[in-house]
Symmetry: C2
Subunit: 702 residues, 2 copies
């Protein structure tokens, strides 16, 4: 059993080796002609500049927290794991983005030879991100565990371990919000002037915001999403470990003895199994000989399907190994069932997202047909579609939670702890295959960028057709990743919430005080907390949507100025180039400034409430969790549905491109942009940051 962290560490190194292999693979592919290389380099420079500036700003926050946490909580070494979590998260984002901005032009170039060449390249570009995220996270976690629990063996080992998660969350919060604002400010701002006012196509090289838009795909959908999943993955493993340690009152010493160690090791073992499964799954993705896009779609799906199947098998075996001893545990199959329940619920939420956002199904087609009666009915039908998808997703989460809870009780006996532990490992199950799931997800923005480069380099339209097909494929496969991200956020937050409850009680007990946390929803402070918690996701969404609006307005002004002041730009006179760098700078400054208020909200509000009244904080976290989950699903699916309704019309339905229904659908799509790419995805992190902040500072609240 003691070997598990070392084995997991080795699997993490294997994942990183795979990432390095894919990196070499991608970098050795030809990047195309001079113009393509030049555009790629502009995107690369813009994305790097943004990330460097973002990290500089966030560094201030991270350093302040690294000082604050040990001072307030009294756990001196927590700053080490906090900084490690933050640094590795930042590193994974940076690595993934570097490769993504290198894979884009190469994918364009490969698309000249058809999709069979381009798809594997884009996938491998994404896989660098996927395996960097999973590998660095598992590496960091196992190292932190070994260092503080096994090697140093401090008393506060598990508090220190938990701080790793807060480090990851800190980066994720700002990366998601900042990147989300960046990408939509550039996208919306560029489109409104370019497509609507100047009447030039999307991604046209004359539009000064086109490069900024491509940069946005990388900093938002690649780096932001990477930091998000790094945080989710880390959090999911931390939650069951922290729950075990705090519930059973483990110190580092106790952990190495008796049966508790099984509970500490099981999540790490599941992560190890998932990692190996993801590595094998990634090899299942091949271009093949087909040039049919639908056949290629099966390739991408095969990668995740293989990985999930192997994870299920591996988890069942691990269940037998860990919990087979009938003297210690009641039923060996219980906790594996929890893991599988989580996996299936996450997959189900992804399927719900697919059904509500793919044009093969009724909701998107209904939105497209409502576009016939104008933008208002388009918006309304998208709103209601998004809201119905909330009901379906909540139903799945409820079933997943019940199965996981039941499974935990089967193995660990009929106490609350066993059930909640089951919920915690269900989240690990959802995210175990993160390596390959993120690969498929990060594939999307690479294909999107590749299309932009094809357009800007004025390649043959057939190349754009190939990249468009790859891109639309990415929309569907990404739905599963989103399902896992938001589903695991709910489960992880639930488990962390329980850990917070336990940590509070034990912190009070340590000081010899009698402290009963009353989380009865019938008590007034819990109820007020619930009200405030339910309100915060709305406020957070409003802040991020407004931030996109303000940053987009600045972009609009700049694009208008360039069209006005640079002679020959609008007409496309040869040799006249837009000042793309100015637009990149505007998006960078705008999004960084705008990410501060929502980011601060997420960290400060739970601290303030916690120091006033911990019961209210309990209600607050619960309210924020359930409402944040609902809003996250609503915004993601409504946004995705509008996007694909527009694409469905562009493909020829209801009058096709340029028709009135198309214009109405564009309005829906624009409304959905900050929903699905800024506010929606930030909700996952919001609810987890607030929970993990509360958990880390729990001892200080008492």
């Amino acid at each position: 059993m003691q070997a598990i962290p070392y084995i997991a560490l080795v699997s993490a190194l294997a994942a990183l080796a795979l990432a390095a292999f894919y990196y070499k693979n991608v970098s050795s592919a030809p990047a195309g002609n001079e113009r393509m290389v030049s555009i790629m380099k502009q995107i690369q420079a813009g994305a790097r500049a943004f990330l460097r500036q973002e990290y500089t700003w966030v560094a201030g926050f991270v350093v302040a927290m690294a000082i604050l946490i040990p001072v307030v909580t009294g756990v001196a070494l927590s700053f080490v794991s906090y900084l490690l979590g933050a640094a590795l998260s930042a590193g994974a984002g940076y690595a993934g983005m570097t490769v993504a901005t290198m894979a884009n032009a190469r994918t364009t170039n490969a698309a000249i030879d058809g999709p069979a060449k381009a798809l594997p390249l884009a996938f491998r570009g994404g896989a660098v991100m996927g395996f960097s995220v999973a590998g660095l996270s598992l590496l960091g976690l196992t190292f932190t565990y070994l260092l503080f629990v096994e090697w140093i063996g401090t008393n506060d080992a598990f508090e220190i371990f938990t701080a790793f998660g807060l480090g990851a969350s800190s980066i994720a919060l700002f990366a998601r919000v900042g990147g989300g604002i960046y990408t939509k400010a550039a996208d919306v701002g560029g489109d409104l002037v370019g497509k609507v006012e100047a009447g030039i196509p999307e991604d046209d090289p004359r539009n000064p915001a086109t490069i900024a838009d491509a940069v946005g795909d990388n900093v938002g959908d690649v780096a932001g999403m990477g930091a998000d999943l790094f945080e989710s993955y880390s959090g999911s493993i931390i939650a069951p470990v922290a729950l075990t340690a705090f519930s059973l009152g483990l110190t580092a010493d106790a952990a190495s003895h008796d049966w508790n160690v099984q509970l500490l090791m099981f999540p790490i073992a599941v992560a190890f199994v998932g990692m190996i499964a993801a590595i094998i799954g990634s090899f299942a993705v091949r271009g093949g000989d087909s040039s049919e896009v639908k056949a290629l779609a099966r390739q991408l799906h095969r990668g995740t399907t293989v990985a999930m199947f192997l994870t299920v098998i591996g988890t069942l075996i691990m269940g037998g190994v860990f919990f087979g001893d009938a003297d210690l545990f009641e039923a060996w199959y219980g906790l594996p069932l929890s893991v599988i329940g989580g996996l299936v619920a996450g997959w189900g939420i992804g399927k719900v997202a697919e059904i509500w956002t793919s044009d093969h199904f009724k909701p998107v087609r209904r939105i497209a047909s409502q576009a016939e009666t104008g933008p208002a009915t388009t918006v309304l039908s998208g709103v209601s579609a998004g809201m119905v998808s909330v009901a379906a997703s909540v139903g799945l989460i409820a079933v997943g939670v019940l199965i996981a809870y039941w499974g935990g009780q089967q193995t660990l006996g009929d106490t609350t702890f066993g059930g909640v532990y089951g919920i915690a490992v269900a989240a690990v199950g959802m995210l175990a295959t993160t390596g390959v799931v993120v690969s498929v997800d990060a594939y999307g923005p690479i294909a999107d960028n590749a299309g932009g480069i094809a357009e800007m380099s004025e390649l043959d339209p057939s190349v754009r057709e190939v990249t468009d097909a790859l891109d639309s494929l990415g929309n569907t496969t990404a739905a599963i990743a989103k399902g896992f991200a938001v589903g695991s956020a709910a489960l992880t937050a639930l488990a962390l919430f329980k850990s917070f409850e336990v940590a509070l009680t034990s912190a009070a007990a340590e000081e010899g005080r009698d402290f009963a946390l009353s989380l009865d929803v019938g008590s007034v402070d819990v109820f007020i907390g619930l009200f405030l918690g339910a309100m915060v996701p709305f406020l957070f969404a409003a802040l991020t949507i407004d931030a996109v609006g303000r940053a987009a307005n600045k972009m609009i002004e700049e694009v208008r100025r360039q069209f006005r002041e640079i002679p020959g730009l609008r007409e496309g006179t040869p040799g006249v180039e837009p000042d793309s760098a100015a637009c990149v700078g505007i998006s960078t400054r705008g999004s960084l400034r705008e990410m501060l208020a929502p980011g601060a909200l997420a960290v400060v509000v739970p601290l303030v409430i916690g120091f006033i009244d911990v019961d209210a904080l309990g209600g607050f976290l619960a309210g924020a969790l359930v409402t944040g989950f609902a809003l996250a699903i609503f915004m993601a699916n409504a946004g995705g549905a509008w996007d694909n309704a527009k694409k469905y019309i562009e493909a020829g339905a209801h009058g096709g491109k340029g028709s009135d229904p198309h214009k109405a659908a564009v309005v829906g799509d624009t409304v959905g942009d900050p929903f699905k790419d800024t506010a929606g995805p930030s909700m996952n992190i919001l609810i987890k940051v607030m929970t993990i902040v509360s958990l880390v500072f729990a001892s200080a609240f008492v």
Copy 2:
């Protein structure tokens, strides 16, 4: 103290006498020329037909419930109070609507002489509704109380009393949802074909949907809103009485003894004080000599201000009378403070609504200026404005709850019961002045209808200007009514929720079973309940929005058909009349069919959850309450903001009527229509119906 119900009963009769006086007053005013009378009669006939059909449909549901409740709960006589609550609610709605459809043409006629004549008439028309609602509710409540508690003195007297509220809720639910769907189907459907396709102005007599639109104002904004406030008013008084009775284990017999009677009587006393204050306040509204609209606005505000001021004074006096005995109570001023806290919080939520929806303030102006960049940014800025207003309103509710809780503890001592009782009477404070508040609210749709009649009768445009000014005034004053309705819903639901908790425990105790309701948000069933509860308002909103869409589509087809098939209609050939009755019929059938699914959802879901797991039901109600409140505020204020941003542009800003920003603002307004008039206002009732259903069936769940 025993005299209180009789005094309250007399004040209720006084309110009804005032309603009768205003009715005579309105009916004796001249209704104008032949064309106006003919239009008025068409509206009247349509509204009556709808209400009769609605009541027929709902009667089936009401009868089923009247059988189900005694059978399931074992409280035989509860069907009497249930039916009484339902019948009086229906009666109040019918009476109010009858006068409103009579006051509209008379207001138009008076508007020929200027606003000073028209305003008092419209107000009096609304006042019939206002005082019918408050009078019939208080009459029914005091009669039920006297009958079962004092005269018959059955053991289950308070269970029976509570069923009155469920009767009122049953009618309110369907009236709000059905009326809300009707009014928006006619409005959206008529506008989309008339204004957008045929290019004829709003309320043009050629548009076949114009009469249906005017009918909609009456069945939605008058009858629906009346049933809503009848339910809110009744619920607010029932909540503290039920809380007292169930918490202290009172039977009819015990109620007439010891100090508990003070707690049973205080809410009724506050209602009595508020009723008298409202009657006096209504006399403070006079037309005066001024023809300036702004001066007239002060008249309307004066009515509510006077009423609230008198209520504060009267409540303080009542506090001294009720709680002055230092042997029985700790501080006399505590509970009056709770009432005043509720009043102020409700007023504050109304103010927030006004700030976020009036064009005198920044949010609406920002939406109007965002209309310059098209419909998408208009929609997004409205969404974010609505969401920010949620934060402000939740803050006010939190402060109101804290004050009310604290006040309750001051008088009743440092137990949970005292605090929650304080919250319950705070809701009574919010709604005590319902008589005059509803008068001012119902004034709005009358003025709106008057404008429509002016347009359809082709009167001089100056008449329309007067009615438009009165109408825009109504939007602002109605904000306060909405604040009271939604604020009191939160407080009442909170108090009913607590009663539900208590009722469950005591029902179990009666059967000799040891039953502890565990509402710890950390327990898995409560958490799943919380998740499901948070989801239901989203699902409910989606169902009602879709219902409006479907019903509007049918209307669009019919209007298109008439323009196509009736020769000379579009051109306005003299003597050619549209088939308005067909449109009225379509709206009626469509909305009645569509109200069933959301209505059933509200009643069935809590019953199903309750019979499976009462802990989960507790979490469910809490989750639905906080999310429903947030969504209600969001939808109401976003919708109001879009509406007034459009009106602001129509008044000349950003290019005025017909400009591109105006078109963008119309999109926002259309999106907001079902938000603010269908889904949003139904939320109040949704959360209360679910709570009161749970309370009434509590004994059966155990």
